[in-house]
Subunit: 173 residues, 2 copies
């Protein structure tokens, strides 16, 4: 069973699409997961203050709790950091990469995506499942302590492409 | 530009994941799209009364309006049917198949999915992108009037597998 006892999630049907959407709650949940996956934001304050969409503090706290309850994130005390609590992806959370990649690919093809925020979606879309799989292995290293995968870092490549696009768009503004 | 003038959608950032989630609104939007794609429910009453999750009439009306505004569905008068208004997928809506397939695949691997409601997700997961692509061609025929694709119907195969699993689960209950 996914959901912790005492969870307030209501499971309305056993359909896999419905259950996924119930566990993910609403759009803010996937936004939080996105910021942890692509921005490596692991602490409450980073997730709050660096939010592109201006998530509110109470929604962030609620969605982090839901995602931990649903087994998508784990929450640990991080004694090296002055904000003691840090969040990591679980294997279940890492397996959301293909869902986010497809959602991002759909957005980039159909919606008025900005250059700098769309570049990572374009790279993920072009790389397809083999790239997603390499990225997931890297996230297993970053979040689960698995061995570091060989080869160039997908995370760094995505980040570098984003920073280059953001700099270019700042110059032409 | 995606969104019709006068739309109430607030676009909080140009990130493709955020935009996709804003356009899709909330979980009920994807549930409605799911029922149109996999159940071929094209009229308000079918979508309302056959809903596994018990969508309410006002939420359904609101989400249909949002999805039409976002260009995911089109709304036409159907003179052959006593409920005159019918909904069809647009190309943009059909391209949500890979998003739903990934979301369903994630659900079936991680959540307490029921046998009969999980069978289609398992088939889509095993078939992968080639099967999704054939299914999308069939939806283009069903919703957009494109030529009927050759070969067996993915829609019928999914439906038959679901009905067989539902019958089996009714027998063993």
């Amino acid at each position: 069973m996914v959901v912790r006892q005492g969870s307030t999630l209501q499971l309305r049907s056993g359909c896999p699409i419905n259950l996924s959407l119930e566990v993910l709650g609403d759009r803010w949940s996937l936004i939080v997961v996105r910021d942890i996956i692509f921005g490596d934001r692991r602490h409450f304050r980073e997730l709050l203050t660096q939010s592109e969409e201006g998530i509110s503090s109470n929604i962030l706290a609620d969605r982090l709790r839901t995602l931990v309850d649903a087994g998508v994130l784990s929450r640990t005390d991080d004694p090296r950091h002055k904000q003691k609590v840090s969040y990591s992806l679980t294997e279940r959370g890492i397996q959301l990469v293909p869902v986010l990649a497809q959602l991002a690919g759909w957005g980039v093809r159909h919606l008025p995506v900005s250059d700098e925020l769309g570049i990572r979606a374009r790279i993920l879309d072009e790389g397809g499942p083999p790239l997603w799989s390499r990225f997931m292995d890297e996230l297993r290293w970053m979040h689960l302590g698995s061995p570091r995968p060989a080869g160039p870092s997908v995370f760094d490549d995505l980040q570098a492409a984003y920073l280059a696009a953001a700099a270019k768009s700042a110059r032409t503004r």
